[in-house]
């Protein structure tokens, strides 16, 4: 079974998961509550992300925490290098925009274990 980074980011839910787990390390139920799919489904997506190296897991007591390894995306960046001359202006503009934000580091904000048990519904 092929399991590379390109396949990891192929699914929109997984891209969202990656975004979420880049901002903060979360345990399974916490992250599952942010998404409209079942915990089991989240587990499967996470497994794929782990298998392709975009996420790592770490057990703490009975909980299992997940966090992103966004450096792995450099494989995608490397592949895209060959197409750099085709990338558009909009890309440059976005790039400039993001440059203004560059000082803010992705801090893991407040919640840790606290809430995370506010079931929706």
């Amino acid at each position: 079974m092929r399991r590379d980074v390109f396949q990891g980011i192929a699914d929109p839910t997984r891209r969202a998961l990656l975004g979420r787990l880049t901002k903060e390390k979360l345990n399974l139920t916490s992250v599952a509550e942010s998404f409209d799919i079942s915990r089991q489904s989240v587990t499967k997506h996470l497994r794929i992300l782990i298998e392709c190296g975009l996420v790592t897991e770490q057990k703490e007591g009975r909980e299992k925490y997940f966090k992103a390894q966004p450096e792995k995306l450099s494989e995608v960046a490397a592949w895209m290098e060959q197409y750099r001359m085709f990338l558009s202006k909009s890309y440059d503009r976005l790039d400039d925009y993001l440059k203004t934000l560059q000082t803010k580091k992705p801090k893991n904000h407040e919640q840790r274990k606290s809430q995370s048990r506010n079931k929706r519904k």
Copy 2:
């Protein structure tokens, strides 16, 4: 059926197709001969690439020519921007490179019809 650029590049064969069709415009049989899978399989991959905008087709007589639209990859580049601070040096160089180009438009270079019917074997 989800059909975006991320899914387009998820498969290694499709990435290879994209590379091939970026270098030159080719008709179906020509491109199929470069790959170790059947013509039908190539057709299916091309259909996916077309549906997500990474390739365009153009009929000429009884032949159908395909060429890449690598500019579409800027959607991927845009998404990756948010992870720029995690990417390695090489990617930053890409970024610098792009900045120097800001005026140049992505031009489609030389080869057009010429070869493309040189059967191997």
